[in-house]
Symmetry: D2
Subunit: 136 residues, 4 copies
């Protein structure tokens, strides 16, 4: 399962472009990390909402994949994100399975970033729906 | 207003990274376009949900900016996107103001892509909330 | 199809409790109406968000049902509503199919109400996902 | 604070109509309970999504109120709910403040119900945005 997810992640062009890497793969939970860089920021140097969303969506999608059978893939059906604080420093996105299902997998995600004093900030929280789509 | 948005957009590192450009700036409506490329795709070459989201969010944010006074900025408070079809070819994201407000601007966005036969496909539809944040 | 929806609606206890009635049944579109009453209001006499949501959700669910085969039922998988203005007077909720699907039906809904001068107000806009669940 | 919320809740016509009562009022957290009844069910006797939403929305709104100053009120700006399982028996909705703010309060809510064997079922999870609106 770990290999399958690692290989799939490596093939996601956008994750490579965003400088994202897999931080943790567990049963129903996946963490993705990426540093906010000028090329992934908005006009004031803070991480773009699109960066935060992409990390949260990928972490949640792979979290769903951890509970599906070999060869399965998932696509995001819908995703709702609340942006709670500016995204700065190293972003950690954690995706979790909220409710597994054969046709739908309800997922949640949270993203944390850093502040000026080395602390952690809750950057975003999200809910979504992933749909298994048979063999990849 | 057009210059302000064009300059702001040009400073959004992520939009440059995603190869996105402004297609239209109107009163309460902005369109952004970008081609799906390997570096913005998921593992099967289709546009990543993060790409579709980023284009929709930026188009909606700038649509909100068109109705605000000089010097204002907006940040995304929350954004909910439904992914309706695979994102292929040239993506066109249209952001619209649904309801202007002093403290909150309700926005909507739709994203269209191409299909194999040169037709248009409704790739995503979204609703969100933008928050004006005073001077940039 | 019309009879099936009319009978199903009549069996929805909450719709009866809220004083809601079917206003229009079309192909992929259903409208539901209800007056804001003290028993469906919040503490200031304005329609409760729960009333607006229930009308939008039911209209969208029945809109999805109009495109499904005989004997099918739908359940709401997720629903996201933006409340744009206070809900007053007679509320009209329109549900529409955004994208039909065998496993998921993407829906949208809007709710309009009245103002003090006999005009119409856009009270809410929503997106959701309905899931067909075989025979009722 | 407790009195203010208890009085406000008692004036919410819809909560009375739905048979909802306040179960717990804490700092940034409020719980509301209600039994699924025929008059709040959908066509198959299961709690209507509108019931689940209304309980979650009210619990989250009052959770936000617990952290605001005397005389403040909140209105729901947007609310996104994922329905995870059929709503049966006694429903318990818990609303929590995710991030307090002067202009916006990010909230979350979960709803649990009962099953046939006396167990608890996670019926719904939700995220929303509440807006403080000055004096009531």
């Amino acid at each position: 399962m770990r290999d399958r997810i690692t290989e799939s992640f490596a093939r996601q062009g956008l994750m490579v472009t965003l400088g994202a890497t897999l931080d943790h793969i567990g049963d129903g939970i996946v963490r993705v990390v990426a540093d906010v860089r000028p090329e992934t920021a908005q006009q004031h140097g803070v991480g773009h909402a699109g960066l935060t969303f992409a990390l949260a969506d990928s972490a949640a999608g792979y979290a769903a994949l951890t509970i599906l059978s070999e060869g399965a893939e998932v696509v995001t059906s819908e995703f709702r994100i609340s942006l709670l604080a500016p995204a700065r420093g190293r972003l950690l996105a954690e995706g979790r399975v909220v409710r597994p299902g054969r046709r739908l997998v309800a997922v949640a995600a949270d993203v944390w970033g850093g502040d000026d004093r080395g602390g952690r900030v809750h950057v975003a929280t999200a809910l979504g729906t992933m749909v298994p789509v048979g063999a990849g």
